[in-house]
Amino acid sequence: MKRRNLLLATLALLVIWQLAAMLVNQPILPTPIQVGAAFIKELGKGLAGHFLASLWRVIASTLLSILLAAPAGLALGQSKRANDFFAPLIYILYPIPKVVFVPIVLLFLGIGDFPKIVIIFLILFFQILVLVRDQAASLRPELIRSVRSLGAGRMALFRFVYLPASIPGILTALRQSVGTAVAVLYIAELFATQKGLGYYIYLNGNTLFNYPAMYAGVVAMSLLGLGLYFAVDWLERKLCPWLFVS
């Protein structure tokens, strides 16, 4: 995507927002300029801390899910027998909207960062597991055969074939689920916490009725999702350059 086009799209969105705010003309929809001013002011008054709290939860759960799901996906993708055993379980669990587990996880794990990290982990884990498994299983037997003929045993196959082959699967999984993860983080942060953008947005919107600050929180949450999406994009270009050559 060209930078100029992204900039133009952002500008267009801001113009639409401005027009809508002028049309509605009520405190519940401030203009982008008011929100921008509130955003800068609120950054110094705690918004930055809430942002960092949410960012930490997403990053921690992402790393945790990659660390656990990628090896599990590789193992299932390599071994037909293991996959035959676990596939029905994954088939049932994969499509369940993990957000419904929010109250259960909170009941069991209580307050603090950990339950929020677990909830996002549940979403990312299955996505990464399934994509890495399918990617490992789709490696052509001829490729495996020829690398084995170079002297590679199980360890070297893992190191030189399965591991690098799993990276695009991990990144695709992140790309697909990072938006959902941030959305579910918002839900999770409505409960049992006083840190995080979800809490901040709810507090300003429903308790303090400080609408510009609430919108500043919405903007911060959007930037969080957008930033993560861009980060995945950037990582893909860095780690998978072969996908971008013609």
Binding site: S146, S149, A156, C240, W242
Partner: protein, 253 residues
């Protein structure tokens, strides 16, 4: 170099592909294995590569019983077997990296192996230097197969097995790679075994041609073809006659 004794091999409960099959190849010879699909020629190659174990009988390469792939045997396959995420240079280095990973243990790498990732001479010999930094998806089929050859020859094999290596290439590319393989065979003195279903290829690359037929293969049928290195052999009467007789032998079976 290759000694096959009383080889029996079958898939499942059907008739065995090979039954008490005997075949020998001397070091430095260039063999082709010719036969219709389903005759067991790829199976034979997999057995020689140590990737498949025979049901019974012994297969010795360089005097040693084969229980697993042997580090001094190279294998070239039809669809190249290259890593899509690696450049030509990195693909050519793969075999050396695998050896470096295990060290000279005699199982995955020869005991006298010294660590290296130098493939530049092979990239140059195979005309790959201009493409060395490209990914395999950017290459033509001929360049991909050259990369696979560079990767294998960088390991300095004494036995090179090729399974339908040029079947998916267009005719001019195929002919130039056949010439290249013959040159490399002469330069390196390795033993060459090429499996093919194409009569012309069998006659070009095989000093000696092993003809297989529909299973079970019991007695090897060997056709001598001593003049493959003569200039202009591809246009000679001898070559045309050989192709004709190979065709009638295949049809007779």
């Amino acid at each position: 170099m290759i000694e096959v004794e009383y080889l029996t091999f079958g898939y499942g409960h059907g008739a065995p592909v090979f039954q008490d099959f005997e075949w020998n190849a001397v070091r430095g010879e260039a063999w082709t294995v010719l036969g219709p699909s389903g005759c067991g020629k790829s199976t034979l190659l997999n057995i020689l590569a140590g990737l498949v174990q025979p049901t019974s009988g012994t297969v010795r390469v360089d005097g040693q019983n084969l229980a697993r792939p042997r580090p001094q045997t190279g294998l070239i396959i039809q669809d190249y077997g290259l890593l899509p995420w690696a450049t030509v240079r990195e693909n050519a280095r793969l075999g050396l990296r695998v050896r470096n990973y295990y060290g000279p243990d005699g199982v995955h790498a020869p005991q006298d192996y010294t660590r290296t990732v130098d493939v530049e001479p092979w990239l140059e010999r195979l005309g790959l230097l201009p493409f060395a930094a490209q990914f395999t998806g950017q290459l033509s089929g001929g360049q991909r197969q050259r990369t696979a050859i560079a990767r294998t020859l960088a390991l300095q094999p004494d036995l090179l097995l090729m399974d339908e290596p040029f079947s998916s290439l267009d005719a001019p590319t195929r002919e130039s790679l056949q010439r290249l393989v013959l040159e490399l065979w002469r330069e390196t003195g390795l033993t060459l075994v090429t499996v093919t279903h194409a009569i012309e290829e069998a006659a070009i690359l095989g000093q000696r041609i092993l003809l297989l037929n529909l299973p079970p293969n019991i007695r090897p049928l060997v056709i001598e073809n001593p003049n493959i290195l003569q200039p202009g052999y591809r246009e000679s009467d001898e070559y045309v006659t050989l192709c004709r007789s190979l065709r009638s032998l295949m049809e007779a079976a």
